[in-house]
Amino acid sequence: MIDLPCVSSDGKPTKSGMATLSAVKNGALTAKAVSEQTGQPLFKVRSGLRELAKAGLVEQKDQTYRLTSKAEQLLA
């Protein structure tokens, strides 16, 4: 099984997934802001945030994202 960029096959965030979650925790609330903070291309961030949302680690409202309690626990 191939690991996806942000969430691995066991449902846990990969290194780039963790970087995205940390950026959201640090106030980067949009895909563009995450891209600027992490240095990852915007298309990768958009794709990664979609995967993180499917894994229940971020929630999207309009164009902004926030961490779920599950992600908060992971980053604690």
Partner: protein, 216 residues
Amino acid sequence: MESSEKPEVGLPLIGEKAPDFEAVTTQGTLKLSDFEGSWLVLFSHPADFTPVCTTEFIAFTKIYSELQKRNTELLGLSVDSVSSHIAWVRNVEEKMGVKIPFPIIADLNKEVSNKFGMIHPAQSKTETVRCVFIIDPESKIRTILYYPLTTGRNMDEILRIIDALQTTDKHKVATPANWNVGDPVVVPPPNSTEGAEERIKEGYDCKDWYLCFKKL
């Protein structure tokens, strides 16, 4: 019983919105809309582990930094699996010393290939020909190039087209044959007799009212 669902086969034309898709790639599942806000070179190659394609991937990687300077991303595609793409990319790095930095679509079900008219059955029923779609930040098709299986693409031309399109968008001008950055550009011709008379007095380098150049 045969499925009543027919694959969506088409060719989006210049000026049209590129059809969106969601595809498995070497860098995760990507949608075309993920690239909105940047220019995109979507290109297909016939197959992994083939000679001309390998030279093209090395050449695309060599212009990658130039594309990035132009706010342009690269997205490859072939009718191969992700595992095949990964094995090939690793082989190119190991044998040729080139690390492929851009994602490659694994279009095993030909969903994206069919949407973009990349399969030309008289050439091959199973492989994509060498297509290039240059798509702007609003997901509009701006250029389409097709090459046969035996002819590798010219990277300088792809960069030149992006420069020309971005120059046209920024300055509302056209670019003449063999134009390159720094060369004079073509002023759009007037569309009235009055405009034609005025044009040659407007200080451009005019050969006649309909063919005028200026430096940017």
